[in-house]
């Protein structure tokens, strides 16, 4: 947490015990790209004590239009190291664990068992399905965001709650066409909007604030500036929920 020169907690919004809760929390962020950048920046500034960063990629010049945690000095560096450097320059009091590799399901399960919340900032369905399965298996809250072109979406899955849907209830694992930002483009501020909302939802989950997007899917169209919130129920036929309940 941040302390000013009078030794007051700078974050005036949270009560002391809430700020302490954030300081004791561990959050796993998967993907340090367009979404992961604002998520990590806001969580570091909010004083989340431990961040585990996962991304196997390196910073490329073409990323910098939207991946705001990296800069030109960090091109060719591993993204998790670049992100760690930026975050520690902002808040040196947090612990960061950088993992610069692609984690398989078992490795994800191992990581998730040690964290309070996982944030899905990945860019493909295959990874999203594995993250979801590991989240359901370990009953780790999942804050999921996605963005492409002018379209964004966000939801929260709380597998520790019997009635919570999971990501697989939303997207059954059919032949999903991969549509990544790097291939299809995204309006840069959109990942900032969705990533900022993800960070906000993470803080609410950590503080047990019961007004999250669990059971809802929020869709945002940046072109028309339209928000839509759909009610999302648990799918009784969902194989992931059934296997892991």
């Amino acid at each position: 947490m941040f302390i000013n020169k009078n030794n007051d907690v700078v974050s005036w919004f949270f009560k002391d015990n809430q700020q302490q809760k954030l300081q004791q929390a561990t959050v796993l962020i998967i993907g340090l790209g367009g979404l992961g950048s604002p998520v990590a920046l806001y969580l570091a500034r909010a004083g989340i004590g431990q961040l585990v960063l996962v991304d196997f990629d390196k910073v490329d010049l073409s990323n910098l239009q939207r991946q705001i945690i990296h800069n030109t000095q960090q091109i060719s560096k591993e993204k998790v190291i670049s992100a760690q450097d930026t975050l520690h320059a902002i808040n040196p009091n947090i612990t960061i664990t950088p993992i610069s590799e692609k984690l398989d399901k078992n490795a994800l399960i191992e990581q998730m068992a040690q964290v309070d919340v996982v944030v899905d900032c990945s860019d493909n369905f295959a990874t999203r399905f594995i993250i979801n399965e590991a989240s359901v298996k370990t009953k780790t809250p999942l804050v999921s965001g996605a963005a492409l072109r002018f379209q964004g979406q966000i939801s929260v899955f709380l597998p520790q709650r019997p009635n919570s849907p999971c990501y697989h209830c939303l997207y059954p694992e059919v032949n999903m066409e991969e549509t990544t930002c790097s291939q299809n483009g995204v309006i840069a501020p959109l990942v900032g909007i969705i990533g900022s909302l993800q960070a906000s939802e993470v803080i609410k989950v950590l503080l047990d604030i019961d007004t999250t997007l669990c059971g809802k899917l929020m869709l945002f169209n940046a072109y028309n500036m339209q928000w839509k919130t759909l009610q999302l129920a648990k799918d009784p036929a969902c194989l992931i929920c059934q296997t892991n309940s």
């Binding site: 993907g31 999203r128 963005a147 072109r149 032949n175 066409e177 990544t180 990942v191």
Partner: protein, 78 residues
């Protein structure tokens, strides 16, 4: 009965319209609503989100008079 059908984001471009008012005497499920609204332009994509009166539903869900059906493309980028 009359059903309002809405298409969002890239689906709007693919089917060439944002909204259709569907008038029919048949009992329809969501998949049949798509077929009647734009089936001649595009078959119902396998990867699609469907809502009925802002509630996420499957393609088998039956619609009623006055309902609003909406179709959204999946989003995965990040």
């Amino acid at each position: 009965m009359t059903i309002t059908v809405k298409f969002f984001a890239s689906l709007r471009e693919k089917v060439g319209k944002a909204e259709v008012k569907l008038t029919t005497t048949d009992s329809l499920n969501i998949e049949q609503v798509w077929q009647q609204a734009c089936g001649d332009i595009l078959p119902l994509p396998e990867q699609i989100l469907m809502s009925l009166n802002l509630e996420y539903v499957s393609k088998e869900t039956i619609v009623q008079d006055g309902d609003e059906v909406a179709f959204f493309p999946p989003v995965t980028g990040g």
